[in-house]
Symmetry: C2
Subunit: 368 residues, 2 copies
């Protein structure tokens, strides 16, 4: 018989059940502390900063919200949630939303390079129910796994949705821009955007950044820059890098024409259309003479220059979460003859919010 | 010196640090199991029922969604989320949403009596930022605490929001119905409803029941009954109990006139109005001759009789969550000359959904 020099081990060896009581006690104690920690941390999560106004100031909210059973009950005071020009210092949470039918490694690398504190950033993706969407989802998952292996995956939360509605099967570039399929395609996209934002927005979300899956290059300070304007809706100017055939040099050209200012002609055209017809910018079939932000880029201009807009594209748009909470959505039906992101801009304005664009602040679209 | 007969205790007493190693080990082991349990349970939570089609059927979704780092990453396949006429058997989750400026004990008692499985029901409340709202919040909290003490609080989740927008201060009954304040009041209410639904809807929510805070009596099977109709939007008929002055007996009378069918006159009236004017049903200033569901109640009729509607009130309306996910919200601005719940019905229809009412299915409004 083996005999340990340690009397303690000998005792355990002969009467192993003697361990049962202390183990049970430890588990109970541990569970107690773990649970307490769990509750307090989940409570902490949405405990918006309270500005104390000194010892004698009685905070009415604190009085009202204290002393309630915490289990499964969450309190949120939407007034305490800020969306300010000092977003990072105030530790405001940002939700980046991307409808994705194609996964581009450059997109993923770019958002991983963003310098806003990743622990304040949540990501939301929605994939169409198509072979293309399935492939994109697999590629995103591989990218997630790789980033995770490298211990670089540090976003607060990632939500992946697969769309329930029927999706258009073909989104090849040449098909995608044909005017006749635009209405159906953008209507589907609007439904996807609505499902995405309304499934992922939390009471703690301050800002929502709509970032298209084919935006492959932005300044690393994108979130700080856009929130810094402190506007309800602000859109970057989407350009594209290409080889200029004349100079054989790298060059840039405007890409997204959905950021625009309404024109007399646009309004007249709208008035002339049947109720269910839409205007989509950038097609020769519909001449609107609207001022397109894409053409307002001045390489020598101040990147923080603002202009008011009436329509926005979805390339890179920062929206205060309250705008969506108030009900601003992406109409899949003609809303003032506009749909999707352009209809969203109109809806934000109907809700009393101003919409802005940054003509000299560029982000870049993939060149396929 | 005390000497225990148990050698184990004596050993611990003399060398207490000898416990350190086993404690550490136990904690580590426990943490491991607890964490594993935690992740798998949170994964389980949204693991929609998958219909296996036999051993040789390869489920594409399973292939795609497996083998991903689970921490902080959530997958939801909206196609697997059902909202069916067999809601309870399929264990579909219901979210009851109530904007509350006054707490009525009868409201709370009534929802606690609902026979749908409470573990599938989440509750969401939003309170206006007024003295009245503060009082209502305190009273709800007291009711929650009381129900909790009685160990009867078994809803899945309760979310309490305080509105961020300015709220109208006075909501006294006599003021509340004056036509001139209706537009502003209902516009505020629309914003409250939007904040509430878009902050509480989860990817796992199948149904949303809008239940006004002054609905004090419904059948206990309200949720089963309304989901049983399997309609995108279905509204109960809101009546009120009162003492009939003629008979001196308990009687009932129609209360909510916002459930209606559009009329020729209503459409003509709408066409004659400036863009920013609204039509609100039930005011002598605006004669619409719309068919009001309130008047269609037949005491001898089948409670499951359906009628199509063009406008709904907010009293007791069951909505498939997908309708909201697609973007249906409560317009705070005139939308086809309609706002709030009536505008919501129009928006649901613009999104391609049908709206129904149950003229013989009564719920009762508080009699103040």
């Amino acid at each position: 018989m083996v005999h340990y020099r340690n009397r303690y081990l000998n005792y355990i060896r002969r009467k192993p059940l003697a361990l049962l009581a202390p183990i049970t006690l430890l588990v109970v104690i541990y569970f107690y502390f773990f649970s307490a920690h769990g509750f307090s941390s989940s409570k902490q999560k949405y405990n918006y900063t309270r500005k104390s106004r000194g010892w004698f100031y009685k905070n009415r909210d604190t009085v009202i919200l204290k002393d309630l059973p915490k289990n499964h009950i969450s309190h949120y005071d939407l007034n305490k949630l800020t969306a300010s020009k000092d977003a990072l210092n105030k530790r405001e949470e940002v939700l980046i939303l991307t409808p994705m039918s194609k996964f581009l490694p450059e997109y993923w690398e770019n958002i991983n390079k963003l310098t806003y504190d990743h622990s304040l950033i949540s990501l939301g993706f929605i994939f169409p129910r198509t072979t293309e969407g399935d492939d994109a989802l697999k590629e995103l998952e591989n990218a997630l796994k790789k980033t995770k292996r490298e211990k670089l995956l540090n976003f607060k939360k990632i939500t992946i949705l697969r769309q329930d509605s029927n999706s258009l099967n073909s989104q090849l570039e040449k098909d995608r821009h044909a005017f006749k399929v635009q209405k159906e395609r953008r209507s589907m996209m609007a439904l996807a955007r609505n499902s995405l934002v309304f499934s992922t927005i939390l009471p703690s979300t301050s800002w929502i950044l709509w970032l298209d899956a084919d935006i492959v290059e932005t300044p690393a300070t994108l979130i700080q820059d856009l929130t810094g304007h402190n506007k309800p809706v602000v859109s970057a100017n989407v350009h594209q890098r290409y080889i200029n055939p004349d100079t054989k040099q790298q060059d840039i050209r405007p890409y997204d024409f959905n950021n625009w200012v309404e024109s007399e002609e646009g309004l007249k055209l709208a008035a002339s259309l049947p109720d269910d017809e839409i205007i989509v910018e950038g097609y020769s079939e519909m001449v609107t003479h609207r001022a397109l932000m894409a053409h307002f880029y001045d390489p020598k201009g101040d990147p923080s220059t603002e202009m008011t807009l009436d329509g926005v594209g979805g390339g890179a748009v920062m929206v205060k979460a309250d705008v969506h909470r108030d009900g601003a959505m992406f109409p899949s039906f003609p809303f003032y003859h506009l749909i999707e992101t352009e209809g969203f801009a109109k809806m934000a304005k109907r809700l009393g919010y101003e919409v802005y664009g940054l003509p000299n602040y560029l982000v870049f679209h993939y060149n396929e």
